[in-house]
Symmetry: C2
Subunit: 448 residues, 2 copies
């Protein structure tokens, strides 16, 4: 096995050391009280009017299967911090708690719990690192993809980012997230097969370079792959477009599109479109790629560039403008008592919560309210149980359901939320009076 593999058996050790030292401390103290942990972010990443919550259902299902087989505990023992009776306790570990989460693809805002875990404190604590790693990855990538989808304004976007993504897991599960974010196809073969997004691709410059002449390379590809896309910028884009026209008109090849990958894409697209149209090749599309992000795509389209499809790699692959999210997983209740922390800039509202999304008379979303779990509102509650008594409810989440949910929701927000720039005012999210009161009481009870 390569070390690209993270086996089920190893999943328990895929965690921060302090989770396990805290577990041993809870165990040593006999602290088995029930805890509530809440997963949320405090600040929206730059340029993100909303985030698409993604990966939480998958992560929760994995968490319920977390085990610590003896062979792994023997490895853990070598660190020298853990006692045999505790390791035996870990060996018997099973998650027995409840997990509530927003459904995949839900647009989410700062301070709103994406997921809450209710379980004996050790069981809830040990999920922290795994949940955060998985949910951060998919949420960051889905949210970037949504911006690119919005910028492309209905034109298909293909993911070309695999080579620039951070490792194999991000490259695979990122494609799930891209699908939720509205991307139409991926160059990533394995991810396409795993997650059902159509596989897509053109050709590399190397294919052109390896041939004695570009025309011959085009001909081979066009014959093998009717409807294919030919890459025209290896030497001289307009000369290459001339060759494509010749192959279609004189040899009857079926060419679906040309791809521009460098230079002034707007100018080249206009020139190429004019050449193709003049030759009667109105059906041959133009694909643009090469360092594109949502701003570049929007500028191309608002400038009227005749581009039909976009290939987006690096900028989406590493979510370059905002590659991280300040996701936190915080204890908000222990043994029935509200808990908080009071660190500067990192205040926390105590207790289990619900998030309600409200619509106006026209069905457009107007605002969200974060309440105590035991409050009721006439909005739509976003947190629903996905794990009960340690058992996942229902079927594994489908990518298509997340995608449909995301885009149905995105359409219902105020128009400004779908722009690339920040709206004049952020989408309104309030804490309920009861929750604010609970927070004040809990702070007062701390005595600091």
């Amino acid at each position: 096995m390569t070390d690209l593999t993270l086996s089920d058996d190893e999943l328990g050790l895929f965690t921060d050391l302090y989770e396990l030292t805290m577990l041993q401390a809870y165990w040593a103290e006999g602290m088995h009280g029930s805890a509530v942990f809440s997963l949320f972010f405090r600040h929206p990443p730059v340029h993100r009017n909303f985030m698409l919550a993604c990966g939480q259902e998958h992560a929760a299902r994995l968490a319920t299967g977390l085990r610590f087989p003896r062979a792994q505990l023997d490895r853990l023992e070598t660190i020298g911090l853990f006692r045999e009776p505790f390791l035996r306790w870990l060996e018997a570990f099973r998650f027995s708690g409840e997990i509530l989460a927003m459904p995949e693809g839900t647009p989410v805002f700062p301070h709103e719990p994406i997921l809450e875990v209710h379980a004996p404190v050790a069981e809830a604590q040990v999920l922290e690192t795994l949940l955060m790693n998985l949910i951060t990855t998919e949420t960051v990538l889905a949210s970037k993809a949504a911006r690119i989808t919005l910028a492309a304004d209905g034109r298909p976007v293909m993911d070309f980012g695999m080579r620039r993504m951070h490792g194999t897991d991000a490259a695979l599960r990122g494609v799930r997230a891209y699908s939720v974010g509205g991307i139409h196809a991926t160059s990533n073969v394995l991810a396409s097969l795993r997650y059902g997004l159509p596989a897509s691709g053109t050709m590399a410059h190397s294919f052109i370079q390896a041939h004695h002449d570009e025309l011959e390379a085009f001909r081979t590809y066009g014959q093998l792959y009717p409807g294919t896309t030919l890459l025209v910028d290896t030497y001289d884009s307009m000369a290459a477009v001339g060759k494509v026209i010749r192959l279609v008109r004189e040899e009857g090849l079926q060419i679906g599109a040309i791809r521009l990958d460098s230079g002034n894409l707007a100018e080249l697209a206009h020139q190429a479109r004019a050449h193709l149209d003049a030759a009667g090749l109105e059906h041959v599309q133009i694909v643009a790629s090469g360092g594109l992000d949502e701003w570049a795509i929007r500028d191309l389209l608002t400038g009227g560039a005749p581009i039909d499809r976009f290939g987006v790699g690096t900028e989406m692959g590493a979510s370059v403008d905002a590659p991280s999210l300040d996701l936190a997983y915080k204890l908000t209740e222990y043994d029935g008592e509200p808990r908080l922390k009071n660190a500067p800039g990192k205040q926390l509202h105590p207790g289990p919560k619900q998030v309600w999304r409200f619509s106006d008379a026209g069905g457009r979303y107007s605002h969200d309210e974060i309440t105590r779990r035991d409050e009721h509102r006439d909005g739509v509650p976003l947190l629903t149980p996905i794990v009960q008594a340690g058992t996942p409810l229902g079927e594994a989440p489908q990518v298509t359901a997340g995608r449909d949910r995301a885009w149905a929701a995105i359409a219902r927000f105020p128009d400004a939320m779908r722009e690339l720039e920040a709206p004049a005012a952020p989408y309104p999210v309030h804490f309920s009076d009861a929750l604010e009161r609970l927070r004040r009481e809990t702070v007062a009870g701390l005595g600091y």
Copy 2:
């Protein structure tokens, strides 16, 4: 098996679709000529005076084991682009070529090949995506880690980034890269066990919150883990330091350090140091964490903050200021003939190459020269064979060797290279006259 697993069997499908469609085209045309591909980047990411080449030896070893088992080809066939005779050819695929690479941990500059592949064109082509994904990840993360190590100026740095890294593979192999980049320890249990970096960790706020009082939580941890680090900012950092002092002086607990994770770290560190020293606890160290990057660490230390160790998470975990690298894998020779592309801004020097690093009389590095492979210089050649006739040479690379190599080299560069800011002039890297001449001749031969 979870879908966090990428098995050996699936590695061949972990690729961009166009690699496989190009392969089928080469196969269909009977193009089996030998090719040279070169892996390099064109632009240094922002704030990177050098990059640490990392992951290339591991990636090359994986590449030599690339196989396409029948079960995987049956999945591939469902895409509808591949013919059975080609799939049978893939089933028999074995890499038979040569790979040269810089040793892991080598500081590398724009345009310098990190790795070159010499093989029949299809064999060399098919490695592209896998090599780029793996080498990008480790090189980006090692290079960020090196900056943080430089800023910490000899003080140990612990990786706390696992929860914010992009997926499980980045979180694991990233720790390898951090080790090469000079990081001293990691919170990541599984990565610690796999790659030998010491496991390290403190406690989370939740542990404090779950207890009725902070003192009790500190006592439990201190008793269980002599020499541990206690997190003091859950409610009031200075009040917590008072409790630490009480536990050490009155109860004889062994506490190794306190951790500050929020607020004005410089001010809090000064106050905490004064309290601890006044109580005779000069041996209790101060660990700082919470959104730190290399700039914040440098500012803390140049401001005289009495911080002994740093915990760095998000900023290193996603290499937030520069999460990507414009790594390219380009055909430079086919069938003995130099090849290039001529796309605007993406010029390429043809042919196989060598990179020579030169020192001055005092042993400091003075400049690099990129030459044709058949030229000789009296500098140190950086590219050496690591795979021959499809077989890896020597043992798998050791993290410690990469780390030693990196830091021996970093010490030999001009002082300005070790600063966080860009030097007045970048490190000099020249193309040889013969290589420039070959490029001019090859461009002329294109006829554009």
